[in-house]
C-alpha cells in the first residue's frame, strides 16, 4: 500500500508538504507541486479513506435507507435509488445502501459509527420511527416522502394534492361525469403512506367542486389479486367513464383486464395513472400519467443534503419542504366520454 509518506519521499519533501501540495490549502512552490503530482502518478497513490475520515471526520459517503416492503412495488423503488446514486456520484459521494428490514437500528449503526456524512431516507411514512433517530444523530438528513413532523429535516415529495386535482380536472374538462379512483391497499395507508390520502382527498375535493361523481377504492398491490379487484370494480360502476390509478400494481395489471373485457382506451374508458415514465416504459403502459419523478426527487434530496454536509447551508438554517409539481404526460388514453 502506497502512502502519502511514500509520495513525500519520492518528491523529496515532508509528509505535510505533500499533503498541502495535494489539497492546496497552503501556498506551495510550483516546483514542489509538480514533483508531488509526478510522484502521485508514478506511484499510483490513492489516499486511504479510513485515515482521511479519521483526520477530517468526513467520509464522502452518503447513507441511503431503502425499505423493501412486501406490499410495495419493488421496481418503483429502484428508480429512487438510481436517482440518489447517480446524483451523489456527480457530487463526489458514494452510496452506502442499507436495505435492513429494521431501518431504525440500521440508521443508528451507520450513523453512530461515522461511516457516512449524511443520510437519505426513502419511503418516509407519516410517523416514521426512523425520524427520531435521524434527528438525534446530529448528522444532516434528507427525506423523500412527507412525514407529519418535518422539523429540522429537509423533505422532498411529489405534490400529491396537485396530482389528485390535475387528474380530476383533466377528465372533468373532457366532460366526464363519473369516475373511479383506485388507491393503494389499506395497509399501505395504515403503515403511514399518507400520500394516498393526500391524493385522494384532493381528488374528492376537486370532484365535489366540479360536481362530478368520484368513487374511491383501495385495491391490492399484488398480482394476481389486483386483477380480480379491477374486474370487480368495473362491474360495480358500469357508468364510470374515467379511471384514475394511484397504485402501480393496478396500473400494471390494467392492460390485460381491459383486453379481457374487450375495452380500449380512450374509446371506452379514459385512464390516467400516477407512476414514472420509466415505469411506464418497463411495463409498456399506454396510459397517460402523472409523472412521479422518482429520479428527480432522489436527486433533489441528495443535492440539498450535500449542501448541508458541505456547510453551504448552516445547520441553523431552517429546513426546506419542497413539493415537486406533477407533470401530466399525455399518452393519448383520455378523450371525451361516449
Amino acid at each position: 500500500m502506497v502512502t502519502i509518506g511514500d509520495v513525500a519521499k519520492a518528491a523529496g519533501v515532508s509528509r505535510s508538504t505533500a499533503s498541502y501540495a495535494l489539497s492546496g490549502k497552503r501556498s506551495i512552490s510550483d516546483a514542489v507541486r509538480l514533483r508531488v503530482n509526478e510522484a502521485v502518478k508514478t506511484l499510483q497513490y490513492t489516499p486511504n479513506a479510513g485515515a482521511r475520515s479519521l483526520a477530517t471526520s468526513q467520509t464522502k459517503v452518503i447513507g441511503l435507507l431503502a425499505q423493501f416492503l412486501d406490499d410495495e412495488f419493488a421496481p418503483a423503488m429502484l428508480q429512487y435509488i438510481l436517482g440518489v446514486s447517480n446524483t451523489a456520484r456527480e457530487l463526489g459521494y458514494d452510496i452506502l445502501l442499507v436495505t435492513d428490514a429494521d431501518g431504525t437500528s440500521a440508521l443508528r449503526r451507520i450513523s453512530d459509527s461515522r461511516m457516512i456524512d449524511g443520510i437519505v431516507l426513502l419511503n418516509v411514512a407519516e410517523n416514521d420511527p426512523r425520524l427520531e433517530h435521524l434527528r438525534a444523530a446530529q448528522q444532516p438528513g434528507a427525506l423523500v416522502g412527507l412525514p407529519k413532523d418535518c422539523d429540522g429535516l429537509d423533505v422532498f415529495d411529489l405534490d400529491f394534492e396537485e396530482a389528485g386535482r390535475t387528474m380530476v380536472d383533466h377528465l372533468h374538462r373532457l366532460g366526464h361525469r363519473e369516475i373511479i379512483l383506485i388507491s393503494q391497499p389499506q395497509h399501505v395507508i395504515d403503515r403511514g403512506g399518507a400520500y394516498v390520502w393526500r391524493l385522494q382527498n384532493a381528488a374528492l375535493a376537486a370532484a365535489e367542486a366540479r360536481n362530478l361523481t368520484l368513487h374511491t377504492v383501495f385495491a391490492p398491490s399484488s398480482q394476481p389479486e389486483v386483477g380480480d379487484a379491477l374486474n370487480g370494480l368495473l362491474d360495480a360502476h358500469p357508468n364510470a367513464t374515467g379511471l384514475l390509478i394511484n397504485n402501480e400494481a393496478a396500473a400494471a395489471a390494467l392492460p390485460s383486464v381491459l383486453h379481457q373485457r374487450g375495452l380500449s382506451t380512450p374509446k371506452d374508458l379514459s385512464v390516467i395513472g400516477r407512476y414514472s415514465d420509466e415505469f411506464a416504459r418497463t411495463f409498456s403502459l399506454p396510459f397517460s400519467s402523472i409523472e412521479s419523478a422518482p429520479d428527480r426527487l432522489g436527486s433533489m434530496a441528495v443535492r440539498q443534503l450535500v449542501r448541508r454536509i458541505e456547510g453551504e447551508i448552516g445547520p441553523a438554517e431552517p429546513n426546506v419542504v419542497r413539493f415537486v409539481t406533477p407533470d401530466l404526460i399525455d399518452r393519448g388514453s383520455t378523450a371525451p366520454p361516449r
Copy 2:
C-alpha cells in the same frame, strides 16, 4: 463523540484494556468486562469506523458494482442487489453500491482508497474490462456471470446449458416436435452476454439429439417492439407447438400477444420462460419457467467473498466456478401438443 477513551475512563481502566474487553482477544477479569460493558451501554459508545479500519485495515463493507444498461431489464437487476445486500448484512457487512456507467474507474476508486474489503461484480460479460482491474486490486472479488477467463476469481452463474437442455427435454418428453426459442437481442450478445449462447447452443444440441426442430430467434428487449416480433414469429412458424423464452421483455409481452391471437396455454401452445419467480409474480406471468435465482446467486457470491475476506479460504486456494442447477417451476403452461 464518545470514544473508547471515554469508556475506559468510565470503567476505570486503560484504553487498551477496554479494547481487549470488547474484542475478547486477551483474557480479562469478569469485573472489568462487566464495568466496560456497562460504560459502553450508558455512554452509547459505538466504535468509529474510520479509526477501526485504519488500525485493522478492515472496513466491513463490500463494494457492489451494478451496471444499469439500457437494453437490460432493470427490475431483474434489483433482485441480485437485494440478494447481495441481505446476505451481506447477515454476515455483518454493509454494501457500498456503485452504479457508475464507467465501472472500471469506479472499481479503482473504491478499491484503491481501501473503502471496502471485497467486491461483488454483477452482470459480468464475457470479456469484462472490469476483471483486469479487479485482479490487479489485490482484494477478493466474486462475480455473478461467467466471463471467458475466470482465473483467480470466484464465479457464480446459472447453468444456462442445463437450462437450455431442460427446456427442450421437457417439451420433447411431452411429445412436441417443433418449437421456437426466443433469445435476447443481438446487442446483448455483442456486449458479451455469453449466457444467451450458452443456453441456445445447449438447446440446439438437445434438439438435434432428440430429433426435433428448434427455431431460434433474437428478439428486441424493449416494448412495444418485442410484441411485434412475437407476432411475426408466431406467423412465421404456424406449426410450432412450443415456445421457449430467454428474454424477460418477451415473456412480459407474451400474455397480451397470445390474447390478441386468441391463443391460450397450454391448449394451443406450450410455453417455458427463464426468469425469476419474483419476476413472474410482478408481471403475473402464468408460464412455467426456469428459475434464474438472482437472490440465490447474489447470496452465494457474497458468502464466498466473505469466506475469502475473513481468511477461511486462503488467497492461494483456487477459485471456484459454481453453476446453479436451474429448477423448472411448473405453472401449468405446458402439455402434449394437439
